[in-house]
Every structure is written in structure tokens, then in C-alpha cells.
């Protein structure tokens, strides 16, 4: 599991961990039921306080991304596929809202926007 802590980031460390794990789950890098490192093990790996990893895991559990079983550890929660798709859509929606707002400011029409989208998407596809 690939997690990096940036000291320069504005986000508190526990939030950085939470965001990164969320991303890994949504991207499918971490699959349902997969075991996560123990909070102490992760703290040691990242060389941070165990309180921080504990808080990160608690946040993830609150949002339904992971489950902690006493004595066994933490696992990626069985993701409700509908819910997961919802979450993924939301991420893209937020980004698109930004793009749309910017386009309107620059007076770029919808069909021009759609063409640009198609070009960029297919460009990535052909590589």
C-alpha cells in the first residue's frame, strides 16, 4: 500500500492518509475484504504517531470505507457497488463543475467543450 506523507501539505497528516487510502479503494487498488496494515504497523512504516494512524482509520471507518474487527485488524469494507460508483461519480462531478465554471468564464460553448473532451479522452486511449 503506497502512502506518502508530505510535511509541507496544509492537510493534517491523518487527513492525508485518509484521502490516499480512500483513493486507493476507489481506484480498486485495494479490493474489498483486503487487509490493511495494523495502525501500529502503519505508524512505524510512515514514522508517525500511532494516534494519527488510529484517527485516520477511525475516519475511514466512519465514512464506511473500512471495517475494524477487534483482535483481527482492519479490512476494506465490502463496497456496495452502487455506493462506490456514486462516490466515483461525485469525484468527477466536482472536477467537471470546476471545468464548466471556467469554460463559462472564458465563453467556451458546450459543443466546443464536448469536442475537447472527446479529443483528450481519445488521446489518452491511443497512447
Amino acid at each position: 500500500m503506497y502512502i506518502i506523507i508530505k510535511n509541507s501539505s496544509d492537510d493534517p497528516i491523518y487527513l492525508q492518509i485518509t484521502k490516499q487510502i480512500k483513493k486507493l479503494i476507489m481506484q480498486g487498488e485495494l479490493s474489498s475484504g483486503e487487509a490493511l496494515p495494523s495502525i501500529r504497523g502503519l505508524a512505524k512504516e510512515l514514522q508517525i504517531s500511532v494516534i494519527t494512524t488510529k484517527r485516520a482509520y477511525e475516519e475511514l471507518e466512519k465514512e464506511g470505507f473500512i471495517e475494524t474487527i477487534a483482535g483481527k485488524g482492519s479490512f476494506v469494507a465490502m463496497q456496495n457497488n452502487e455506493l462506490l460508483r456514486e462516490k466515483k461519480r461525485k469525484v468527477i462531478e466536482e472536477k467537471l463543475e470546476e471545468v464548466v465554471a471556467e469554460s463559462k468564464l472564458l465563453k467556451i460553448e458546450l459543443n466546443e467543450l464536448q469536442e475537447m473532451l472527446k479529443l483528450i479522452y481519445e488521446e489518452g486511449y491511443n497512447e
Partner: protein, 288 residues
């Protein structure tokens, strides 16, 4: 889980130094950094915990037992590392092993020898032939070889280079993998604790300034800087401490939201390091 160390209203008068009303506690499974400037009272507090000196009043409970009444039972489970080597320098590590092993009921010779080889310590070498860092590692090997539940370290890394210090810190975070164990680590080198400490207890001038989870400090406290004209009574009141010169001021604030937004927008806001906190508390103006 019950606390592994509980100190309440500890008081000690010592030559010209006074330790007053010291209270803090540590739970199992965590590392606590005990920081403060030189002369703040760290070593005195640790000596009181280890019963090397007598307290004037107050209570110290370790493993839920009074530290004076159950002194030897408690010490079976404490591993200690002091700032200097106090083992006989003319004796070899092997000889010292012979002297120390029967002292602890749970002494594990195999574990001790493993540590010696991990730390690259030759058992035939005399203590006086070891460098400062290796002497410290030897002390640590002794402290870790009898299943101690509380590891107490009094400025163990002063005088050691950063490479060494980071090795020691790794060893400490290894110890904490066992949730029953705790580490109390006093130092004035705050960078050692920036990452691995779970709790920070800050002592200055014989008093506890704060004792809380490290992230509370680093995420809630902020350093605000700005023109001197912006330093009003409100900031002076809510700041933990502040400093000013002819042009501008700096203040350590625990809750940034208490400053008006209008004022806040004109200020530079930074995350403090533990060093900042120590410097501000030791040298700033005490707020009302």
C-alpha cells in the same frame, strides 16, 4: 486500559530549584516525549519517578502501584537509559552481563546477545573502549532485555549524531508495536520527537506547560506573525505567548478562530514546530 504512569501534584524543592505541582500521565502503548529547555526539571522529574531522589509531596503511580511502596516490583518492569554511562568502565560487556543478569527475574540472555549483535557490540570490549553512542546502545540493550513494560530515557540522545538518533528512534517505535509497552523519553532535541512521539509533555521552569497528544499541538497551535500595529489586547489575551520587536510581533495561538477574520487576513499563519513551542514558552511574554 489503565495508565502505566500517573503523576499527581508532584513537588520537590532542590537547592535553588523548585518543581511544583507536576501532574501528567501516560497510557500503555504510547511514546511520550518529555521536553523542555535545560534546567526545566526533566531530569529531576525522572529521578523522582525512579526513586533516586525523595519527593516533598505528591504521588507517583507506575503500573498502578505507588512508586515508593512497590519500588522493587516496579523496577523489575522498568528499563532505563540515562544521559551518561554509569556502568563500570573497566569491565567488559560480558562481565557486566554476568553482574546484571541475576538482577532481573525476566532476564533474557538470548535477547540481550541478539541486541549486542544487532548493535554491533563486541561482548569482550570494555566499556571504556566504546564510543558514546555505543555506550548508549549498550544501556538500551540492557533496558530491553528483561521484558520491561515501561522504558524511561533521560536525554539519551544528546551528543549523538542524527544518524544514530534516528536508529534509536526506530528501535523505540519497534518497542511500541507491543501495545502493553510505553516509552517516556526526555530530551531537549525536539526534532527527535516531531514524528514518532504520540504525546508531548512540556515542562518549563519546574512547571508543566502542557501535556497532550502531539497532533493536538501541531495542528491546533499556530504561529501568527504580523505588523506590530496589529498586536491588540485581544491577541495578547488569547495567545499562549507572544514576542514583539520594533516592527512586528509573533504569537503562539492555540485557537486561531478567536482572532477576528479581518485581523486574521492580515496575518501570516504558520504551523509551529515543537522547537517553536519550546522557544515561545520559554522566552515569550507570559500572557495574562
Amino acid at each position: 486500559m489503565s495508565k502505566i504512569l500517573e503523576i499527581s501534584n508532584l513537588r520537590k524543592e532542590y537547592n535553588k530549584f523548585l518543581l511544583k505541582d507536576i501532574s501528567f500521565s501516560l497510557e500503555r502503548g504510547y511514546i511520550m516525549g518529555f521536553i523542555g529547555p535545560n534546567g526545566a526539571g526533566k531530569s529531576t522529574t525522572i529521578k523522582l519517578i525512579m526513586n533516586l531522589i525523595n519527593k516533598d509531596s505528591g504521588k507517583i503511580k507506575i503500573f498502578d502501584m505507588d512508586n515508593e511502596k512497590y519500588d522493587t516490583d516496579i523496577k523489575q518492569k522498568i528499563g532505563f537509559v540515562y544521559d551518561e554511562n554509569y556502568f563500570y568502565v573497566d569491565l567488559s560487556i560480558k562481565t557486566l552481563h554476568r553482574i546484571i543478569a541475576p538482577v532481573y527475574k525476566k532476564w533474557d540472555s538470548k535477547k540481550f546477545n541478539n541486541y549486542l549483535s544487532d548493535f554491533d557490540l563486541d561482548p569482550n570490549k570494555k566499556i571504556k573502549q566504546l564510543s558514546k553512542g555505543m555506550k548508549m546502545k549498550f544501556s538500551l540493550a540492557v533496558a530491553l532485555s528483561h521484558d520491561a513494560e515501561l522504558i524511561i530515557m533521560d536525554e539519551p540522545t544528546s551528543g549523538l549524531d542524527p544518524v544514530f538518533r534516528s536508529e534509536i528512534l526506530e528501535i523505540l517505535s519497534d518497542i511500541i508495536q507491543d501495545e502493553r509497552k510505553s516509552v517516556l523519553f526526555s530530551t531537549h532535541i525536539t526534532s527527535d520527537l516531531e514524528r514518532i512521539a504520540d504525546y508531548i509533555t512540556f515542562i518549563n521552569d519546574g512547571e508543566i506547560v502542557l501535556s497532550c497528544p502531539k497532533y493536538d499541538i501541531l495542528e491546533n497551535y499556530k504561529i501568527v506573525k504580523g505588523k506590530k500595529s496589529l498586536l491588540d489586547n485581544n491577541i495578547k489575551r488569547i495567545a499562549e505567548n507572544y514576542r514583539e520587536n520594533s516592527f512586528n510581533f509573533e504569537a503562539l495561538v492555540s485557537n486561531i478562530n478567536k482572532i477576528d477574520k479581518a485581523v486574521r487576513d492580515e496575518l501570516t499563519i504558520e504551523k509551529p514546530t515543537l522547537d517553536d513551542i519550546m522557544i515561545f514558552t520559554a522566552r515569550g511574554e507570559k500572557s495574562a
